[in-house]
């Protein structure tokens, strides 16, 4: 019991004490995850809409593929991009490995299928008559899609929140592509892994509690946006 109590106490100290190292890791986690989820949304929302609206041969196969990609292990994404971004890899000249940009790229790959799947499900669940009705009223297909998006906005928000939760909580990609560099690519999750390997279990757990507090704040913010 002492262990859990110590962690809770340490977490509160970290939050109210504004420890500089902890603040930097919180910031790194937040901004890489945020950029990653925004990019993933830019890709995933159109893909989800398109899969939900259009009818073509092979659509089911594509949806199944997308569903399967939701099960992508983070280390596999890490390994894949490691090979691509390493100096020996095809994009090695960019020198992106062990930078925040590499983590963002990996997390984007991780989150895009999640966003696309959720949006696809929301489109399928929406009223099937919306699009024909809008078109008959003279809307272009672009305007009709925008209106549909407005109708399923709660589903889209759920997609973004699910994707964000996945990327801010993942450790494999951040560790492999970021390298857990202090002050640069150390995120909350890689910091927890590091503290665990040092045997600082209580401190690691307290960082976990800080992570949950940050996630709560982000979700409160999204909730606020949603209600406006």
């Amino acid at each position: 019991m002492g262990y859990l109590y110590d962690s809770l106490l340490a977490a509160i100290k970290l939050i109210v004490g504004f420890d500089k190292d902890v603040l930097i890791t919180v910031w790194t986690s937040l901004y890489t995850s945020t950029v990653a989820i925004l990019l993933a949304s830019l890709l995933g929302i159109p893909v989800g809409l398109w899969l939900g609206i259009s009818k073509f041969r092979g659509r089911r196969a594509l949806v199944t593929l997308l569903n399967t990609l939701m099960a992508l292990p983070t280390v596999v994404v890490g390994l894949l991009l490691f090979g691509v971004l390493s100096r020996q890899g095809p994009l090695g000249g960019w020198g992106l490995l062990f930078t925040p940009a590499a983590m963002i790229l990996g997390q984007m790959v991780l989150a895009t299928p999640i966003v696309a799947n959720y949006v696809h499900a929301a489109v399928i669940g929406a009223d099937r008559r919306i699009l024909p009705t809008l078109r008959s009223l003279g809307a272009t297909s672009w305007q009709a899609s925008l209106q549909l998006l407005r109708d399923i906005r709660f589903g889209v928000m759920a997609a973004v929140i699910a994707g964000f939760g996945r990327v801010i909580a993942e450790v494999g990609i951040a560790m492999m592509l970021g390298g857990n560099i202090r002050g640069t690519t150390r995120t909350m999750t890689t910091a927890i892994a590091l503290e665990t390997s040092k045997g600082e279990f209580a401190f690691g757990l307290s960082l976990g509690l800080v992570l949950m507090a940050v996630a709560l704040l982000v979700n409160l913010g999204l909730n606020f946006l949603q209600q406006r």
Partner: protein, 266 residues
């Protein structure tokens, strides 16, 4: 409309943040034992201030650190596996190897010492004894410097470790000490990590002092002729600094509690 404005300005702001970086960065791949001990957080800042740069430390096992050097993804490596280091230089991947410091390995085990190896001076014989009696031994199993040394000791003992007493964890030193403690087994660890875990593990030192447990660390610069993007000037300065008198004072003055973790050659 307003919401998308908020989101877009957030995105632009974040992209700005990620591109801002005024310092020159030098990448150092090193072992988890060096990083976890906390040595680098006191050793590197004077160098960073003097050269107005930042050393990005990537802490992995020795095997992976050497791989990162081979592919040119880092500028300098600081590792502990002499045989592999010499091969790294001989094959043209690295240049200018320097001896930096040393510490030693110890074999730790349960306090009641079921294998009866406590005080044994011959590390290989002690390990042969563990194997013969089938007491649990937890191996790093991750191609790290410690794992390399362990395999050398098994070879010296004439044992091919296999069986349900031999657990290959594939994890870092700290995790392996915890695992060995839970399973009441033996393991080989560097002294620094053991001291950091002394409070948290029921295991105690059984064997120490064998010359084969000596653990030297070397720093090598990645060959700039092979990888032109390597920061050779800054890398050379780091090697010079690590072998300088001021760094030697910092290394030998570094303590965990009252115990010295790293030593420099006289």
């Amino acid at each position: 409309m307003k919401r998308s404005t908020i989101l877009m300005s957030l995105l632009i702001f974040l992209l700005f943040c990620s591109s801002a970086s005024a310092f020159d960065h030098l990448r150092l791949a090193t072992t988890t034992s060096t990083e976890n001990s906390g040595l680098l957080t006191i050793l590197l800042p004077p160098f960073e201030q003097h050269n107005n740069c930042k050393v990005d430390v990537i802490a992995v096992g020795t095997g992976k650190a050497i791989k990162l050097g081979e592919t040119g993804d880092v500028d300098v490596i600081l590792v502990h596996a002499r045989g592999k280091e010499d091969r790294f230089v001989a094959e043209g991947f690295g240049v200018d190897r320097r001896d930096i410091m040393y510490n030693d390995f110890v074999i730790i085990g349960p306090t009641d010492d079921p294998a009866g190896i406590k005080g044994q001076k011959d590390a290989a014989a002690a390990m042969a004894h563990i194997a013969a009696a089938g007491f649990t031994f937890v191996s790093r199993g991750d191609d790290s410097g410690t794992h390399t040394r362990e395999k050398e000791l098994w070879a010296a003992a004439g044992v091919a470790p296999a069986g349900n007493w031999y657990l290959e964890a594939g994890r870092g030193m700290g995790e392996v000490i915890v695992m060995a403690g839970e399973r009441q087994g033996y393991t080989l660890t560097d002294r620094g990590t053991y001291l950091a875990f002394k409070e948290k593990t029921p295991l105690r030192i059984a064997v120490q002092g064998d010359t084969r447990l000596y653990n030297p660390y070397g720093a090598i610069m990645v060959n700039p002729q092979r990888h032109p993007h390597v920061k050779a000037d800054l890398g050379r300065k780091l090697l010079d600094y690590l072998t300088s008198q001021s760094a030697r004072v910092l290394i030998s003055g570094f303590r965990h509690g009252s115990e010295q973790l790293f030593y420099v050659e006289d």
